[in-house]
Symmetry: C2
Subunit: 113 residues, 2 copies
Amino acid sequence: MIDLERKRELYRLQAELCQTLADPTRLELLELLSEGPRPVKALVRATGQRQAKISQHLAVMRQRGIVVAERMGTEMHYSLADPRILEACRITREMLVDRLRRQHALAEVAQGE
Amino acid sequence: MIDLERKRELYRLQAELCQTLADPTRLELLELLSEGPRPVKALVRATGQRQAKISQHLAVMRQRGIVVAERMGTEMHYSLADPRILEACRITREMLVDRLRRQHALAEVAQGE
DNA sequence: GAATGGCATTCAAGAATTCGAATATACGGA
DNA sequence: TCCGTATATTCGAATTCTTGAATGCCATTC
């Protein structure tokens, strides 16, 4: 079962990736970066969060290879390392939205009784 | 910006979902359940982990609505609540595999120099 | 070269997660 | 009803994550 070891290693890496996505601020940053490269300043403005916090989250995502950074004069421009991440995010969001809709419908029915 | 609030709430839920996926054992369980409903016993056997640990992880995923459980006599059969989760997992795994491949290719080049 | 704007890092505290050990519960059969 | 198999829960310790506060660093401009 040497193949199982390889699978387990992949599960570990995948878990690490999911862990990196498991933060609302980071998900919002990814969504903002889906529009294209953005300087930190713009991300701070758009999220309304403290600059240090945004930098910390960007650093985490940079370490894990989810975003890449490039210096543009005095600014740092961040962008997505692999746009496929957006597809994964889209799917999970769809699942959530559907679930919320079902819950809502259920609440309506309960209301009507 | 009432809409922003709604978005943020969705990001929170999405982060919670990602958090739930952020564990190698749970990812392995989801993969096993992709084949169809399975009793806990089978999952314990397939993973080689302690029964309590598997039950704990299943409980977490049940609470978050990722899997559903049904009693079959003395056994509990678990299954995926929404198969779309597999699609999201597949995408992230593909990203990882590609990254590993690139790293491997890079190592080859470095080797050759 | 001092000041400023833009970003990163460090540190510490609090919260959350993971896991093993022990224990509890549920069901079916004798 | 007692037992064994199957599964769940509780508890405590160790580890990890998140964030604010403070501070550091780099490039540009004056």
